[in-house]
């Protein structure tokens, strides 16, 4: 009996010890994390193909998401959601004002482009720095409270920022119209003609430059801006994985689990939450900077509370606290925003043209509220379904499907095994 228990104990120790020895791995990632990172990297690199599965001119072509503007949104909002998840997913502090950091990052970036250089890198660095400083101030004050009071404080900060950008700070923010690059801008380090409007570039590569590849009826677009944003997204994702697996990440999960015990264990939870808040603010700033790098404009609506709410939706829809969830959620919402909203009654009539007239009209009438401008309704329903049936988000959905398959496999294997045993017995 005692022998048995020591045996299991040894077994329990072994895999951990061997994992510790192998931990150098590739890029410091091991096992599942490395696999996940490689999959995400492949998907982002091949996105122009994957998102354009339907040939041009076909009826389904409007479901193609592989155009630069949308692909850029996918990765930029992916970064925003990854950062938000570091705060919300790990520590459980629900910030309702993260769009403020996105906005601050955007304003910092556009000013760098107006004043210093049209190269996007200094703009992006400044957007991270400014968002980080702003997050430090907001976080220092807001983190004095937790739960709903924390959420309300961050919301108040974000709405104040919005109001300031909209009116009082008009000289800096351009007020209602926002800021964009103009012919009168003369960045120090860029040689522009007298009436030339600057274009964002990456060491000379125009962010809007695209290479189009036609294979048969298919058209694939490879956009410089998208790939630069994608590199930043992969870098952000990589750093997020490292953070999740680090002692720091463990402490953040401890904050969410039992802050009281944490304090009585000799750990000061305040600097941990503040650090998480600032890091996620910097992620938001990076996203804001990248947005400016893509379209060289910014307006105060970027800080409006609905924008803060959107990143909350993305994170919960995808799966808060999971690595890949926020990226999935961001992709899902941006896809619906851009694709479902494009579908109109004319397209519906085309789809249902094969049906008798009465039924066709009826179907279009039923589906009408859910498409076009009604895409919010579809999103709302989807969100409700996910929260009610899959509290762990789309990631939990994926896990459930995977476990169903695994169960089937083990079932068949056990059946085979017992069958084999019976055969042996009969022999």
């Amino acid at each position: 009996m005692t022998d048995q228990t020591t045996d299991t104990r040894m077994d329990a120790t072994r895999p951990r010890a061997s994992a510790a020895h192998k931990s150098s791995g590739l890029l410091g990632l091991t096992g599942k994390d490395l696999g996940l990172f490689i999959i995400v990297a492949l998907l982002t690199i091949l996105a122009p193909f994957i998102l354009n599965p339907f040939p041009e001119g076909s009826a389904l072509a409007q479901f193609n998401g592989g155009y630069p503007d949308l692909m850029q949104r996918f990765v930029i909002f992916g970064i925003f959601a990854i950062g938000f998840n570091i705060l919300f997913g790990l520590t459980g502090y629900l910030s309702f004002g993260h769009a403020a950091f996105l906005g601050v990052g955007s304003y910092a970036a556009i000013w760098m482009m107006k004043l210093l250089t049209l190269n996007v890198i200094p703009a992006i660095i400044m957007s991270i720095v400014f968002a980080g400083i702003f997050a430090l101030i907001v976080g220092y004050i807001s983190l004095r409270r937790s739960g709903i009071y924390f959420s309300i404080l961050t919301l108040a900060f974000a709405q104040m920022s919005y109001a300031l950008a909209y009116s009082v700070l008009t000289p800096i923010t351009g007020g209602e119209t926002g800021l964009q690059l103009k012919a009168t801008d003369t960045p120090l380090l860029s040689n522009l003609g007298p009436t030339e409007i600057g274009r964002a570039n990456f060491f000379g590569v125009d962010m809007r430059a695209s290479y189009e590849m036609a294979i048969g009826d298919w058209l694939f677009t490879f956009n410089a801006g998208y790939y630069i944003a994608a590199v930043f997204m992969l870098l952000s994702f990589y750093l997020a994985i490292r953070l999740f697996r680090s002692p720091f990440g463990m402490m953040l999960r401890a904050v969410k689990s039992n802050q009281q015990r944490m304090n009585y264990t000799g750990l000061n939870s305040r600097p941990y939450t503040l650090a998480a808040f600032v890091i996620s603010g910097m992620y938001a700033g990076l996203a804001g900077g990248l947005m400016v790098a893509m379209d060289t404009q910014v307006g105060p609506e970027r800080m409006f509370w609905t924008a803060s709410g959107e990143v909350v939706l993305m994170t919960i829809l995808g799966g808060a606290g999971t690595l890949i969830g926020p990226v999935l959620g961001a992709g899902m919402i941006k896809y619906m925003e851009n694709i479902v909203s494009k579908i109109n009654d004319g397209i519906l009539h085309q789809w249902f043209a094969f049906m008798p007239d009465g039924i066709e009209d009826f179907l279009v009438f039923v589906i009408h509220p859910f498409i076009g401008k009604g895409w919010h309704l579809t999103l709302g329903l989807l969100f409700m379904l996910v929260v009610i049936f899959l509290p762990g988000g789309l990631v939990e959905g994926g896990q459930r499907i995977a476990s169903v398959f695994r169960r089937k496999e083990t079932k068949t294997s056990t059946v085979e095994k017992s069958a084999a045993e019976q055969q042996q017995h009969s022999e």
Partner: protein, 252 residues
């Protein structure tokens, strides 16, 4: 001079005098039990020691330094750990992570920004946590989510968490309440082994007299917020005042 010196501590909640005038001196490497009927102020006293409550009057000195006015995490870093009446553990985390966290707190202090290192590479912490879990016989449950443990296991885990910090003073608030007899005996054995090493001072609140008399070197009886008597277990057993106030007339 003991490692813990409580002098004239009083605490009042509105009209209720929870602690009157408590004096307590705990000598290093001994086990001091505090017993008393419900509402005697035992838990209030413990809360005053770990910074959860601040007493209205008096002083609490630990290892020559005042505890009062310090934050809970600072007091823990001074060397005081506490096992709570209802287990306070990290329910969402695995058993192993629960023990790793106090090991980190012991090594790195109250805050360290180690966001880029991997937990798997912290071999010294892993070894420490493994040894600790082995000591409380929970190594085979290392990957279990802590909230799904039985109540007895939760208490054992919390004790392991506290012990892994190698505290100078361990405060135990009814460590065996609601435990089965076998678990209670296991806990007593565990605490006895730790006590035998002679590196740890213990302060224990307990209703189970079996636990108290098997562990304690000295006993303080608290009644209505004031210490009634302080003596060795042998003398407490026969003390008429104690019998009257707490133990009742029944045989012990």
């Amino acid at each position: 001079m003991g490692i813990l010196e409580v002098k004239n501590v009083g605490k009042r909640f509105g009209g209720l005098q929870a602690l009157g005038d408590v004096n307590l001196s705990v000598k290093e490497n001994t086990c001091h039990a505090i017993i008393g009927p419900n509402g005697a102020g035992k838990s209030t006293l413990l809360n005053c020691l770990i910074g959860k409550l601040i007493p209205d009057t008096g002083s609490v000195m630990f290892d020559g330094q005042s505890v009062l006015g310090r934050k809970p995490h600072e007091i823990n870093q001074m060397g005081i750990s506490r096992v709570f009446q209802t287990p306070e553990i990290f329910g969402d985390l695995s058993v192993f992570e629960n023990v790793m966290i106090p090991c980190f707190a012991k090594r790195d202090g109250s805050f360290r920004m180690h966001a880029y290192e991997s937990c798997d590479a912290e071999t010294d912490i892993i070894a420490k946590a493994e040894a600790m879990l082995d000591e409380v016989n929970m190594l085979e449950k290392r990957n279990v989510v802590a909230s799904s443990l039985s109540r007895g296991d939760k208490r054992r885990l919390e004790m392991a968490m506290c012990l892994s910090q190698k505290p100078k003073l361990l405060l135990l608030d009814e460590p065996t309440a609601g435990m089965a007899r076998a678990d209670t005996n296991n806990t007593i054995d565990l605490l006895k082994t730790i006590k035998a090493k002679g590196e740890l001072t213990m302060c224990i609140i307990e209703h189970d007299m079996h636990v108290v008399f098997s562990l304690a070197d000295r006993i303080t009886v608290l009644a209505q917020g004031t210490p009634l008597v302080e003596d060795t277990p042998e003398n407490i057993k026969g003390h008429p005042k104690v019998r009257e106030a707490y133990l009742g007339e029944a045989e012990v």
